[in-house]
């Protein structure tokens, strides 16, 4: 049976715990790839590869933060699409 991981989200002073949703991560990676004009097919396959790696990492980490997931996803994305990885990392530190 697959182990479920939980993501602790920091929403101001309150902490919210949610089940990890692969689809959210997948969509955000596809979005960042598309935003630098990557072809759709390549964006989808990159997102799948990154999500697979993140899922493997999550097996040993039942409780993580959104920040942890972003770090791991950026690290993996760096291997497949460095430019997208840069923009993905920058998303939360642009403003």
């Amino acid at each position: 049976m697959e182990q479920t991981s939980y993501v602790v989200k920091n929403n101001g002073k309150k902490h919210k715990i949610e089940q990890f949703d692969r689809k959210i991560l997948h969509n955000s990676i596809v979005k960042v790839c598309l935003s630098i004009y990557t072809p759709e097919g390549q964006a989808e396959s990159t997102a799948n590869k990154v999500c697979d790696k993140v899922m493997i990492w999550l097996k040993n980490h039942p409780e993580v933060t959104g920040h942890d997931i972003r770090l791991i996803a950026t690290k993996q994305l760096q291997k497949y699409h460095p430019e997208a990885a840069y923009l993905y990392e920058q998303h939360h530190i642009t403003i």
Partner: protein, 237 residues
């Protein structure tokens, strides 16, 4: 103060304003979201144009409002204490910009209220209509008011002395020059330039822009101080 000197001060203040980067950051994020959600190039152009227009309108309104307040408060004759105060503000903001403008970490995060930054982030993600992008442009100028207040105040004081027609020219000149950096990024994005390259350039040059803005404010404050206070004091003897 003659018209050429007044317009030069206004143009220089606007250049300092242009080196502040919040609107450019929001435009970059807005474009990333729009392209990332597979919207058409026409939609991207519509949203970014509305955003740039919003920034322009708010800059114009802010400058006009501050000038109107000064006209009412000083009744057409600006006391030297007011010039000294705006020069002091300029020096103070320059030091604040040098010390705090960018957060000392990766990226281009600014020392603005995190509440404002989160609000702008959320609004950027949910912007679908041109009207929303226009509103986002308005709010992004307000969010940076702590930094742009110095060049705006000096320009507003200078504007008061100009004849009515030249006041309009001055307001237009300020608005246009203060938006130069935004317009350059807007043209780059509309022309299909890669967002990651734009962001990388901004990140690599952020400390230069920070230094330039602070130094510009010091020079501006010093020039206005000499021109309005020292010269008139020397003239009395």
């Amino acid at each position: 103060m003659g018209i050429p000197i007044s317009l030069t001060i206004i143009a220089f203040s606007a250049l300092i304003h242009a080196s502040f980067q919040l609107s450019v950051s929001v435009l970059t994020l807005l474009s990333a979201h729009t392209i990332g959600t597979k919207r058409s190039q026409a939609k991207l152009l519509k949203l970014t144009t509305s955003f740039v227009f919003g920034v322009g309108v708010m800059t114009l309104l802010l400058l006009s409002f501050i000038a109107l307040v000064f006209i009412n408060v000083f009744d057409g004759k600006i006391p030297q204490i007011a010039w000294a105060a705006v020069c002091g503000l300029s020096f103070g903001v320059a030091i604040v910009v040098w010390l705090f403008y960018y957060r000392r970490q990766k990226g281009t995060m600014l020392w603005i209220s995190r509440g404002f930054a989160d609000y702008l982030n959320r609004r950027t993600e949910s912007t679908r209509l041109s009207a929303e992008a226009f509103g986002l442009g308005l709010s992004s100028v307000i969010s940076e008011i702590l930094f742009i207040i110095a060049p705006l105040s000096i320009s507003a004081l200078v504007l008061i002395y100009l004849p009515p027609l030249w006041q309009l020219v001055g307001i237009g000149l300020y608005t246009l020059i203060s938006m130069l950096s935004l317009i350059i990024v807007w043209i780059s994005i509309s022309g299909g330039h890669n967002l990651s390259r734009i962001q990388k350039w901004r990140e690599n040059n952020k400390y230069f822009l920070q230094f330039a803005a602070g130094a510009g404010l010091i020079v501006l404050g010093f020039f206005v101080y000499v021109n309005e206070i020292i010269v008139s004091l020397v003239g009395k003897f």
